[in-house]
Subunit: 149 residues, 2 copies
């Protein structure tokens, strides 16, 4: 077995998709070259970042989902992005935001289960600069990435 599906999920998580120009042209009744021109412009202007797949994450071993609210050390206030940039490449992390209020950093994290999430916290989150975290576990996901589940 070649585990092609596993490879596909990795690729589709971030890209390897493309717009359906002909289908859109029919839908909004414009010439396909017009659609093409507009899309290429949006890509060039970096309005569109990428095209990607959205999964039923339960079915690709990412069934556990949690929001991680973090407080960062006052030492790091001058540049919270230092911490964020260390996290950004981590493939379990769906989103990273620097925020107002009690929690300066909010992560959305996906893992296979709570055990794998615990490993993630120990390995990734427990680092200099983060002084307190609160995990809010998702019991049921109804919508993600603008897609109802």
């Amino acid at each position: 077995m070649k585990d092609i599906k596993g490879k596909l999920t990795i690729l589709f998580r971030q890209g390897y998709c493309t717009p359906q120009i002909a289908r859109i042209a029919k839908k909004i009744k414009e010439a396909s070259t017009t659609i093409h021109y507009n899309i290429k412009k949006m890509e060039k202007d970096q309005i569109i970042k990428t095209y990607k797949a959205v999964f039923d994450y339960k079915k690709i071993d990412l069934g556990y989902c949690a929001y991680v609210l973090c407080q960062i050390s006052p030492d790091e206030y001058s540049n919270p992005e230092n911490i964020a940039n260390d996290l950004i490449k981590h493939e379990n992390i769906e989103s990273i935001d620097i925020c107002t209020g009690d929690w300066e950093l909010i992560l959305k994290v996906r893992a296979k289960d709570q055990d794998e999430y615990y490993l993630f916290v120990k390995k990734v989150i427990s680092r200099r600069g983060i002084i307190k975290i609160q995990t809010v576990s998702s019991l049921k996901q109804l919508k993600t990435e603008f897609i109802p589940l």
Copy 2:
């Protein structure tokens, strides 16, 4: 002016994209028919929900982003999904989760600016069943939908 870009953003928010089979086939060195077969299977099994675009949301009038932490009324504990299902179709809402802990409902919301967000809160969030909300505004988004920005 036909505002084709506007129509495209609406379509691309949820779909109208498709996998790049030939490109993937080259990348992982398999026959394109094999890739095709596996993708169709993943779609049929609902492992893949859709293919969509990810935007630089600042550039499509959705620059404001906030997490909305909600407490729901004890009356609604028996079925928190009632509330969630009312919200699910709202296009400003990126994600909806029913969660553990102090906040039973977490929304991720996008709007043009704080003014538009305020209108959203008044119109959508202020409803029977939600007894307290706390907005955590994003000051800087570093990653969203698994895509570094």
